[in-house]
Symmetry: D2
Subunit: 136 residues, 4 copies
């Protein structure tokens, strides 16, 4: 199953060339993960971090940029979960418009305790909701 | 040859976990590339973009995050050029402290005309300066 | 007339204290102005900048921060136009939730030609649409 | 006494007009305050936040932008402390080059406990160091 959401490319995403400055793609991808938490698996991301004391840092990223995005465009950001381990999650993510890829990313993230900085198992309720999302 | 520069991890780089928010690493890596232009190969990066009408967009990134950076740390960002094609550049970049890797990145960038959006050859003077940097 | 839009406070807006890092309020206020262009006065902001060669830089800001915003909150950002001159616009803007002010801002902006960097008259069609917005 | 530090205007500070996007001035002003902590009054800003559990949120800002800054410029950012209360600090800050003002800001900040969110007295050692800075 794929979570898809359109985002407006804003002035603040673009650099002096008028196109998205590549670090800002990761800010929007992070917004997408937040929105996936709130809207798709319905786990409040703020509670995940601030109340449960967990975080989901990135350990590996592979990103291919095949076409630029320009200010004023509304483009689709999409996310799938390709693997869930005890504490790790693999995401495929991308940006596309009219069926044409602009950006494609593989991201591995790990659930970590903010206290110990060590990997911990994903909470059972979160696992179940991600599992349900994966099967669609 | 390796270009190394220490950067202070600032409040604005960190998120609510007190550690660098991963998109902000790419902002600092971009600052490193700018500083490499100005200080190492001595090509003004602003002239490269604004006067020559070129840009150096990223086409591929592979990044591994092995340990976090915290606010107040001064860490080394480093850059080498591993390959120069007609219009492409391959960089190896990383973040380390006391000889221990925090982040490691491979980045492929391509020299592009801002007018045509097509790949163009790196200007001859820039090629020569990068070549001189690569041999050290 | 007031343009009001709810925005989610994201991880990327907050610093290590878990609250919005004040420079990020201005990023969201700028998103609000863009959304006001697209949605309220129906002037495409990208065309205003990229095709007409105009911009709307800020010349004066007065901002009062009376209560913090935290990650995960959805808060209302609002905007009114209090005065329109030949080339200048005065905005009152703010952030509130449940009728309580969090941030309040007065902003003066001027329509400028990107070529000459000089103030120019607001285009007639934009004036008329802003006038219509002001009377509601 | 005035704390002055030159900063390079980077690609990441500028928007599609090639000039500093105004919210990014506040990011640099915040970097200036951090550098003033570390270098001028020699109070580690990370310890102030992370170990002492304090923060210094902004309660009031007045900013005038009189001339733009462009990518590649190195401009002076400066800071003075105009008043120190029990828990409040008033800063005058600005950006200038060759003696000409680009930006001028008055900022009121208050020392706050991150636990109670209430204003608290500035720690005595910090007061003394700021007092010493003020008299020069």
């Amino acid at each position: 199953m794929t979570f898809i959401k359109p985002y407006l490319i804003r002035l603040s995403h673009c650099d002096a060339t008028g196109q998205v400055f590549y670090p800002n793609y990761f800010h929007i991808f992070n917004a997408l993960v937040e929105d996936w938490f709130y809207e798709a698996i319905e786990v409040p991301f703020d509670g995940f971090l601030m109340e449960r004391g967990l975080s989901l840092p990135t350990v590996k990223l592979e990103t291919t940029f095949s076409a630029p995005c320009r200010m004023g465009e509304i483009v689709d950001f999409w996310l799938t979960v390709t693997h869930m381990g005890r504490s790790s999650l693999r995401f495929s993510m991308g940006v596309s418009k009219d069926g044409v890829d602009r950006v494609r990313m593989h991201r591995v993230a790990v659930c970590v305790s903010q206290k110990t900085h060590a990997a911990v198992a994903l909470p059972q309720d979160v696992r179940e909701k991600i599992q349900a999302f994966m099967v669609g």
